[in-house]
């Protein structure tokens, strides 16, 4: 009882935009600029370091936008784990959360070791206490464990303290780096010859432009701070606004800071005879580069001769501790989310009533952080963490495409990225490329990372799979009966209620007979958001009756399977079932009006037409009548061909006639020959050519002309079969297209059809 109360309690919501921005910034500024600048200058050249940070910042922004969009729509602790769960289901999300937990924990232990190394070396350098190399190594481990333990305690104290401590440290180190950048620009203004340090711009001994791919690979992890911001969804004030803003601001600030610092580092060293390596005079960038990870510090000491070294050391300590703080926070929230959804034992989600922090998850995270910091060589494990971060980002970019595509109408977004899906696709390609280059930097990472992931898969297979709690977004099968065999054309009929089922059954019969199809009957039980999924059975009675009614008519004639599923959103449930059953044709009814703003035909029909990867028939007011005079407005294209085919199937076999009707625009350049169009596709029609007529009418307004023809008393049409629009999606958002306008105002029985289209349908099956 007590535990239940704890599990249902919420994290305290007290992190502001400033706090979460600083959390992200703190995780990024950690070691990237201090360790990455010198190495990058040495490998890619003085201009290469600017290009590396600027382009990496841009790539990071693409992924940050994906995180921002998803976090604004799903603002819960868990980050990538939550996104993967909504997009791909339990298995993928568990692996995502598992990777996230490990990557963040190990990154935390690495920052602890980094802090300890610089601190111990600083005090050793003072010479107050004589210390041997072995003693120094032991001291580094002890200090690393102590500092990690201190920040674990700070995290236990609560989100507010966590955010405030991190914010103070991050502000300090960012101000220091901004100061370095400003000093660099001042130096150039006073001595413009320092700009000659940028010649040659790139290091051609490592391939010139190609070397950028390598340096971008190993500095990519310095831009990962938005991951920790995503973890703060449960604790941030107004998360739909503040989380996406914080992600974007942090990437912007860190990129500008990195570029400014890299510029300052290059111009900090004056060229001259004093710059030698092994007695050989070298250019400033070569001199900085030969220090490797300490190159930035060496350059700053030249830039600020009085106290520069001490300031850099202090900045590294600030940077390491704020990054340590942020990674412990991130790792804890990742494991908390796994526990909350029962992917890991429930005690992972227990929240301290006093501190409002997930203390059990923090304890397990502490075990990893302290264990790695105190016992293991963190370098190679950190490479594995980097690879897993890149794989996570890769996954998140896939999630943003899939979630917007499948749930864009259901979720409450606080931000949507521009140029969708170009930016996430670009990010996916580049994440893959960077992961490959990380493989070149540390091959063993590609051993450790698969081992951890493999371990996660085993845990999921034998523990989490059967225990994971269902979420509101999942679609669950209630009842399913399968017909024997699996071959042939598949027609899915989505029935809503008994009345709707009866109006669909006769026309389904005609189509199935023509296609020699097998039938999949589907009823989606919509469970209101406020009702727990465990009570879904209370809503199944009407659906069962509808399915039974339909079965009575179709089962004797066709192989027939039935499925009842519950869901939160009917459209998504139908699309999901179509994909899963690999259906070729979906038939569903439409009540003929749109009750939801923003939709043309309705909140169920519009998404279904847009997303299903198969042919679609939408029946409006068709009842069980026989159709003798069918009108088919045509404009060319696959939907018109499919409309003619369906019209010929639905028309009465003995007396049915079909009129292909085309409205030509006044002054149109390309005349459309309807007669030739019909003749060209005659082989797909069930009616002889003699019962098909073709007509063209010139009119200014196509929709009005078609509606007038429908009401033409001389023709007396009893059915209209209409192809859906093929206008681009953005055009449809702004203007109502002709078919949808006709469909809304047509008072006679109407069938809207949409033909599946090759590559588009193939992509839709997988997204």
């Amino acid at each position: 009882m007590d535990r239940d109360r704890q599990l249902s309690s919420e994290l305290s919501r007290d992190l502001s935009l400033f706090h979460v921005t600083m959390m992200g910034l703190g995780m990024m500024i950690g070691a990237g600029v201090f360790l990455g600048t010198g190495k990058t200058i040495g490998y890619a050249g003085p201009g290469g370091v600017l290009l590396t940070f600027a382009l990496n910042g841009l790539i990071a922004l693409f992924t940050a936008m994906s995180y921002a969009e998803l976090s604004s729509a799903i603002p819960r602790a868990g980050g990538a784990y939550n996104f993967a769960r909504v997009a791909f289901g339990r298995g993928t999300s568990f692996v995502a959360g598992w990777m996230e937990w490990f990557a963040s924990s190990v990154a935390g232990s690495l920052y602890a070791v980094c802090f300890a190394t610089y601190t111990v070396r600083f005090f050793a350098g003072l010479g107050l206490v004589p210390i041997t190399a072995t003693q120094e190594a032991v001291a580094v481990r002890i200090v690393a464990v102590l500092v990690a333990a201190a920040f674990i305690y700070i995290n236990y104290r609560g989100a507010s303290e966590t955010g405030k401590v991190g914010a103070v440290m991050t502000v300090a180190q960012t101000l220091f780096l901004v100061f370095i950048g400003i000093v660099g620009f001042v130096v150039v203004l006073r001595d413009p010859s320092r700009l000659d340090n940028f010649s040659p711009f790139l290091n051609h001994s490592h391939g010139g432009w190609r070397s950028l791919l390598v340096t971008m690979g190993f500095t990519a992890v310095a831009f990962e701070g938005y991951e920790v911001i995503a973890q703060a969804g449960d604790e941030t004030v107004n998360p739909r606004k503040n989380i996406p803003k914080a992600m974007l601001y942090s990437v912007l600030i860190v990129t500008l800071t990195y570029v400014a610092c890299a510029f300052a580092a290059v111009v900090a060293v004056k060229a001259g005879p004093g710059l030698t390596i092994g007695g050989r005079e070298v250019a400033p960038w070569e001199w900085i580069g030969h220090f490797g990870g300490k190159g930035f510090g060496a350059a700053v000491e030249r830039l600020l001769p009085r106290g520069g070294g001490l300031l850099v050391m202090l900045a590294v300590i600030f940077a390491s501790t704020s990054a340590l703080n942020a990674t412990i926070y991130s790792a804890t929230r990742a494991s908390y989310a796994l526990g909350r959804d029962r992917m890991l034992p429930a005690f992972f989600s227990i929240i301290s009533e006093r501190r409002k922090t997930p203390w059990v998850a923090l304890c397990f995270t502490a075990a990893i952080v302290l264990g790695v910091a105190g016992l293991l060589n963190a370098d190679q494990v950190a490479s594995s963490a980097s690879i897993m971060f890149l794989l996570l980002f890769f996954l998140v970019n896939l999630c943003v495409i899939k979630i917007r595509y499948n749930m864009g109408d259901e979720l409450h977004y606080g931000f949507v990225m521009p140029l969708f899906p170009l930016l996430p696709v670009l990010a996916i390609l580049l994440q893959g490329l960077l992961a490959v280059f990380l493989h070149e930097m540390g091959p063993i990472a590609w051993v450790i990372a698969p081992c951890w992931i493999g371990g996660g898969i085993v845990i999921y297979r034998f523990y989490s799979r059967h225990r994971a709690a269902p979420t509101a977004d999942e679609i669950t099968v209630i009842e399913e009966e399968r017909a024997p065999g699996d071959e042939g054309y598949r027609v899915m009929v989505a029935v809503a209620n008994p009345d709707n089922a009866l109006s669909l059954v006769k026309h389904t019969y005609a189509v199935c007979r023509a296609k020699q199809a097998r039938v999949e009957l589907l009823h989606m039980v919509r469970v209101p958001d406020q009702v727990p999924l465990s009570d879904a059975h209370k809503y199944t009675a009407e659906g069962k009756e509808a399915v039974t009614e339909t079965m009575l008519y179709l089962a004797p004639m066709f192989p027939l399977s039935t499925t009842l599923r519950y869901c939160r959103n009917v459209a998504r449930g139908i699309v999901s079932a179509v994909r899963e059953k690999r259906v070729q044709l979906l038939i569903m009814g439409w009540h003929g009006r749109s009750l939801s703003s923003g939709f043309t035909l309705g909140s169920t029909v519009d998404p279904v037409i847009e997303r299903v990867p198969c042919n679609v028939l939408i029946l409006k007011n068709c009842g069980d009548q026989t159709f003798k005079r069918v009108l088919v407005p045509v404009a060319g294209g696959p939907n018109s061909v499919f409309a003619l085919e369906i019209a010929s199937i639905l028309a009465d076999r003995e007396e049915g006639t079909l009129t292909a009707f085309h409205v030509a625009s006044q002054g149109g350049r390309r005349p459309f020959d309807v007669d030739a169009f019909v003749g060209e596709h005659l082989d797909r029609m069930e009616l002889p050519r003699t019962r098909i007529t073709a007509r063209t009418q010139v009119a200014r307004n196509a929709a009005q002309a078609i509606l007038a023809e429908i009401e033409n008393p001389a023709a007396d049409y009893d059915l209209v079969v209409l192809g859906c629009t093929r206008d681009p999606k953005l055009y449809q958002f702004t203007r109502e297209s002709v078919p949808e306008r006709v469909a809304k105002f047509c008072a006679k029985p109407l069938v809207m059809v949409k033909a599946s289209a090759g590559i588009q349908s193939f992509i839709k099956r997988w997204i």
Partner: protein
């Protein structure tokens, strides 16, 4: 200043300009979505396309 330096500098400036531009656009988008209480992607894109 050789061609490589000019190209490299141009790329850096373009990347940073794009970065700043995208963040500025996003900030305006977040404010607009919040002010108008837009919810679904459909509503948001429609509102942005109308541009009013």
């Amino acid at each position: 200043m050789n061609a490589e330096t000019i190209a490299g500098t141009s790329i850096v400036v373009t990347a940073l300009t794009l970065l700043v531009g995208l963040v500025a656009w996003s900030r305006r988008a977040i404010e607009r979505i919040s002010e108008r209480d837009l919810k679904s992607v459909r509503d948001i894109v429609k509102d942005f396309r109308n541009g009013s």
